[in-house]
């Protein structure tokens, strides 16, 4: 009985566990992080499409600084792949990266593409490729720290 309960608990825990978005963290500030991210993107054929400075936007309006910026990144090939496989994928583009300040470090994390793979199995290989590329970019961002 006890073993059965433990097994059931593991199954439920696995089902409910949050899928982990790709992420990397290293010492620095927002500007150095964006500089390093830009270089990593270029090395992988990606472009930094737009930085959304949520921190500045909120502070400018009298709110406290959340220590968050968003970077939208991509390459033309992703658009073509989305159009070829499922135009619904266009709603993911350009890909979003979240930059978060934490104790003198900047953590960059992607959206959770595993959640999309689960919902759209036919787009799984393309989504996996995008995730792998983001993982490689963020690995370069982290460097050898």
């Amino acid at each position: 009985m006890k073993n059965a309960l433990i097994a059931l608990a593991l199954i439920v825990a696995t089902t409910q566990a949050e899928a982990s978005p790709v992420s990397a963290s290293k010492t620095g500030n927002m500007q150095t992080a964006l500089d390093d991210l830009s270089l990593a993107l270029i090395d992988h054929g990606y472009e930094l499409v737009k930085v959304q400075p949520i921190d500045h936007a909120l502070v400018k309006r009298g709110y406290s600084d959340p220590g968050i910026r968003l970077a939208f990144v991509g390459k033309e090939e992703l658009v073509q792949q989305a159009l070829a496989i499922d135009p619904a994928l266009l709603s993911l583009l350009p890909l979003r990266l979240t930059l978060e300040q934490e104790n003198g470090r900047i953590r960059i994390s992607s959206d959770d593409l595993a959640q999309w793979r689960e919902r759209m199995p036919s787009a799984g290989p393309v989504l996996q490729k995008w995730e792998d590329e983001l993982a490689a970019i963020l690995s370069d961002y982290r460097g050898h720290e």
Binding site: A19, V79, L93
Partner: protein, 152 residues
């Protein structure tokens, strides 16, 4: 034994809760018949403002990925937000940045324009944070209201 039975019930109800959440659609979509991409963008921007959100920007789907003259003319993204909501959400949980800012993708076809948004209530289901779900459900309702108005 009663404690074991109680644990089992909790696990079963948790599993059932997962099943119920799985019904949430990944995308929220509406069709704007008989309008061009420019016309649909304008009515969408009006709907955004009328629902107390701020229009942030619009761009072609491949903006900055190709020279401006080559940008796609049939797929556009509109970004918007509500700063009060954004501030409150980020204070509550930093993961909410993954649904910011709001964005709707417009895809022009022969008979009109499809409006497509990622459902924030679906995204937040993965966070295992029941206290965030009401806010994400409200955001979903706002998206739907904006999409409905734009599609009228």
């Amino acid at each position: 034994m009663p404690a074991l039975f109680k644990s089992l019930l909790v696990l079963v109800f948790s599993a059932l809760a997962c099943t119920v959440h799985a019904a949430e659609p990944a995308l929220l979509t509406r069709f704007v018949p008989g309008r061009s991409l420019d016309e649909a963008t304008e009515v969408l921007k009006q709907a955004i403002v009328s629902h107390n959100y701020t229009f942030v920007r619009q761009q072609a789907i491949d903006s900055r990925l190709v020279p401006v003259e080559w940008e796609a003319k049939s797929v556009r993204i509109v970004y918007f937000c509500n700063f009060d909501t954004m501030d409150a959400a980020l204070h509550r949980d930093i993961r909410t940045a993954r649904i910011m800012p709001c964005r709707i993708t417009l895809i022009e076809g022969d008979k009109g324009v499809d409006l497509v948004a990622v459902n924030p209530a679906w995204i937040s289901e993965q966070w295992n944070a029941p206290d965030l779900q009401p806010g994400c459900n409200q955001l979903k309702a706002d998206y739907l209201a904006i999409l409905e108005e734009a599609a009228l």
